[in-house]
């Protein structure tokens, strides 16, 4: 797994592939325009197939990386080298991501199938470049393709890419406060279809994690698990008491204060090892006690294997 390399964005993105303030009523229309822009410039890949691959990837999980930013992507077998296209939209395009506002900056990444590291390098490079202060806003208000291109490439010519926790983490995950109730936690777990939620205090420090197993563990304590067969226990409503008191029980009573936390500079290869060896689904990223984000196994593996 590649962990460090220098990437020059200008090698993959030309001004002619920047679409300024596109008129797109849906994400499919936006993706169609971006694929079209690349297809006009590059030979050797099938436009319809490329569009289908990008849409399919987007259908599986929206690629909204941060507020206002999406990085749709696909790996194509008939592409010889990586390519980027950028679109901006002042009105915004709905990418159908739960809890996200419309997207104003879309960067399409197409990479050759036989170069799986290319996507990761470009992704990490774009993440670093687009994370600059006000970058999304400046791109959104750009009045021409030249201006938008200039904004994107005004930084250092080469961006040193380190594929580490900072580049693959979700810096805006669902979190709860210690004083939140169990009812809020259950709502957050179920509505977002997630299994782990970090608990963060008002100072932004990580206090613990609540996982779906913690709720199960409260209902099925260890001494019940000693029995080989629990089927003779009838009329047992394991969640009855939990749910009866859910609006007054605090998540602090349930959360686990033992979790795996790493600093943002931990390389991706170490993350892979932690996922494999510790059998965890979520790794917390912290700086001291300060909570920065999470790396979830599913999104991590999507980025590694399914880009």
């Amino acid at each position: 797994m590649m962990t460090s390399k220098e990437v020059r964005l200008a090698d993959y993105l030309q001004e002619s592939r920047v679409l300024c303030d596109i008129a797109a009523g849906s994400k499919d229309e936006a993706l169609d325009q971006l694929v079209g822009a690349l297809h006009r410039e590059l030979d050797g890949f099938d436009r319809a197939k490329a569009l289908m691959a990008v849409r399919e990837r987007e259908r599986q999980a929206p690629t909204v990386l941060a507020a206002g930013l999406a990085l749709p992507h696909a790996r194509l077998s008939d592409l010889s080298q990586p390519a980027l296209a950028l679109a901006t939209s002042r009105a915004g395009v709905d990418f159908e991501a739960v809890g996200e506002e419309p997207v104003h900056v879309i960067v399409l990444i197409l990479t050759p199938k036989d170069d799986p590291g290319a996507y990761l390098r470009l992704m990490a490079s774009l993440s670093k470049t687009l994370a600059e202060p006000h970058m999304i806003k400046r791109l959104t208000v750009a009045t021409s393709a030249r201006e938008a291109y200039g904004v994107l490439t005004e930084g250092p010519e080469k961006v040193e890419v380190r594929l580490n926790a900072a580049s693959v983490m979700n810096s805006n995950p669902v979190t709860l406060d210690e004083s939140d109730t169990l009812a809020t936690a259950i709502q957050a777990l179920c509505a977002n279809r997630i299994m782990d939620i970090p608990i963060v205090d008002s100072d932004g420090d990580l206090r613990g994690v609540i996982a779906i197993e913690d709720l199960l563990g409260q209902s099925l304590p260890r001494h019940l698990l000693w029995m080989e067969d629990l089927s003779p226990i009838e009329n047992f409503e394991p969640f009855a008491e939990l749910l009866r008191k859910d609006s007054e029980t605090k998540v602090a009573d349930f959360m686990r204060d033992k979790y795996i936390a790493i600093t943002p500079d931990v390389p991706a290869i170490q993350l892979a090892k932690i996922f494999l060896m510790e059998g965890t689904r979520q790794i917390q990223v912290t700086e001291g006690n300060r909570f920065l984000g999470v790396v979830d196994l599913d999104s991590f593996s999507s980025q590694i294997f399914w880009a």
């Binding site: 099925l220 001494h223 019940l224 047992f236 008491e241």
Partner: protein, 473 residues
């Protein structure tokens, strides 16, 4: 008993240093025995190897079995022990008794017996912190009598962790209370501790003897231990009460209460206990050797269980039986037998009589104190295995039964003195560290551990002195 030593994490240099120290001390003591006590060549080898085993458990607890294997090899090579004596001294019946009990315990867990006990403890009406901890510690002691101390503390500690987790309390004081009481309880029957069945076999004591002489002393000592520890940890118990009250006011229980089907598990336990308890009557009625039924009763029960739970039979034998420990015990008994075979224990017994005289009034506390102090730092099974031939030798000139009880109580109650004094201590503190990341300091334990052991041994000494004249010769 032994240090919590992660042998796997030891560097080769550390290993070699400890190994050299072990060899130097054990050989040095053997040579000193030759120079000052007139040990023969075989006595020197036997005492050196036995000391190496003791030091091996202190220095290399995690691979003590390796030391035992090597020690046995040395004894065979030096002709201090032959295969015939090895087999005779390995106490196979005791090992099989323990195998049978471990299988029975495994089935009791499967059948929900321990779950039922835990449910019963958390369902105490009008519960308070003191009531809960007193009931739990007494239950732990009695459970140790019925099964064994390690099994008992594993289940009881799990309950304590659950309750303390709900109440957001540091479980350390409550775990210490329960462990101290468990060690006391382990002296009540011959199933409570491996030293119980070993002493029973060596001394020819029956289940009835234990119930008549040891159990009442254990009960009084247990009462003292509960009182002393509850007083010692009174502030922590006040906090327990306060947290419990707050939770009850919020109408939240400690753990979900369920009706556990316990009857089959209870029946298995009662049948096993009844079988063991009736061994003497059956042996007399059937003209069988003394304790022959006692030693096979758990095996018979285990056999029946394995037929009824055919799908779990292999699991019981492979996973529920602690083969590592039992193999160590077997070699340990054989090596301790060499001490007797070569006459080392006779020399020690003579020295003991020379120092303490042959008056039971002095020998009872002397044996108890020596065993307690030894068991506080060395595996009590090792100490009892080494000391039992001394009691046998002493018994040639005086009534041996009070001395056997003194040996039992010294070994079991002495386990309370230090945090490495018994396997139950090690297991419980290991669980505590794993669950709560809390460590207990040596001195922190020593203060309450030594106090509770001292009070319990005073009681045992007094009661044994009163009971000794009524014991059979």
């Amino acid at each position: 008993m032994h240090g919590e030593d992660n042998g796997g994490a030891m560097t080769t240099k550390q290993l070699m240093r400890r190994m050299l120290l072990l060899l130097a001390i054990s050989v040095g003591v053997g040579v000193a025995g030759s120079l000052f006590a007139g040990f023969t060549e075989k006595q020197v080898v036997a005492s050196s190897v036995f000391l190496a085993i003791i030091l091996g458990t202190l220095f290399f607890w995690t691979f003590r079995l390796s030391i035992a294997f090597l020690g046995l090899t040395v004894l065979i090579f030096t002709r201090s022990l032959d295969i015939e004596h090895f087999v005779a001294s390995a106490e196979l019946p005791v090992i099989l008794f323990l195998v049978g009990m471990m299988i029975v315990v495994g089935s009791l867990r499967d059948l929900g017996f321990f779950t039922w006990v835990v449910q019963a403890l958390i369902s105490i009406p009008r519960m308070t912190g003191r009531k809960f901890i007193a009931a739990t510690s007494i239950a732990s002691a009695l459970l140790a009598c019925a099964v064994d101390e390690v099994t008992s503390i594993i289940f009881i500690a799990t309950l304590i962790f659950q309750v303390c987790n709900r109440l957001k309390l540091n479980p350390t004081p409550y775990i210490i209370i329960c462990v101290l009481c468990t060690n006391i309880g382990s002296a009540g029957t011959m199933m409570g501790n491996p030293v119980g069945i070993f002493i029973g076999t060596k001394a020819g004591l029956t289940f009835g003897d234990f119930f008549r002489w040891a159990f009442p002393i254990m009960l009084v000592a247990l009462g003292s231990c509960v009182a002393v520890t509850l007083f010692w940890f009174r502030k922590e118990l006040d906090l327990f009460d306060q947290r419990l009250k707050e939770r009850v006011e919020r109408r939240l229980s400690l753990v979900p209460k369920v009706v556990v089907p316990y009857k089959r598990g209870l029946a298995v336990l009662l049948f096993t206990l009844a079988f063991i308890a009736s061994h003497h009557a059956l042996e007399e009625a059937l003209h069988l050797g003394k304790n022959s039924i006692l030693l096979v009763a758990p095996l018979a029960c285990a056999g029946a269980i394995m037929i009824f739970k055919r799908d779990r039979a292999r699991h019981y034998v492979e996973r529920e039986v602690d083969w590592w420990t039992l193999l160590f015990f077997m070699l340990l008994f054989a090596i301790a037998g060499t001490l007797e075979h070569t006459g080392v224990t006779k020399v020690i017994a003579d020295g003991f009589v020379g120092a303490c005289g042959d008056k039971p009034g002095i020998l009872i506390p002397a044996v108890m104190a020596t065993t307690a102090i030894g068991s506080a730092f060395v595996d009590n099974v090792i100490f009892v295995a080494a000391f039992s031939p001394v009691i046998t030798a002493l018994g040639e000139t005086m009534p041996a039964m009070p001395l056997w009880w003194a040996l039992l109580f010294g070994a079991c109650f002495g386990g309370n003195i230090t945090l490495i004094g018994s396997t139950a201590n090690i297991v419980a503190l290991g669980m505590l560290e794993k669950q709560s990341h809390v460590g207990v300091g040596f001195i922190q334990w020593l203060k309450i551990g030594a106090l509770s052991a001292f009070v319990a041994m005073l009681i045992a000494w007094g009661m044994l002195t009163l009971m000794a004249p009524h014991m059979p010769a």
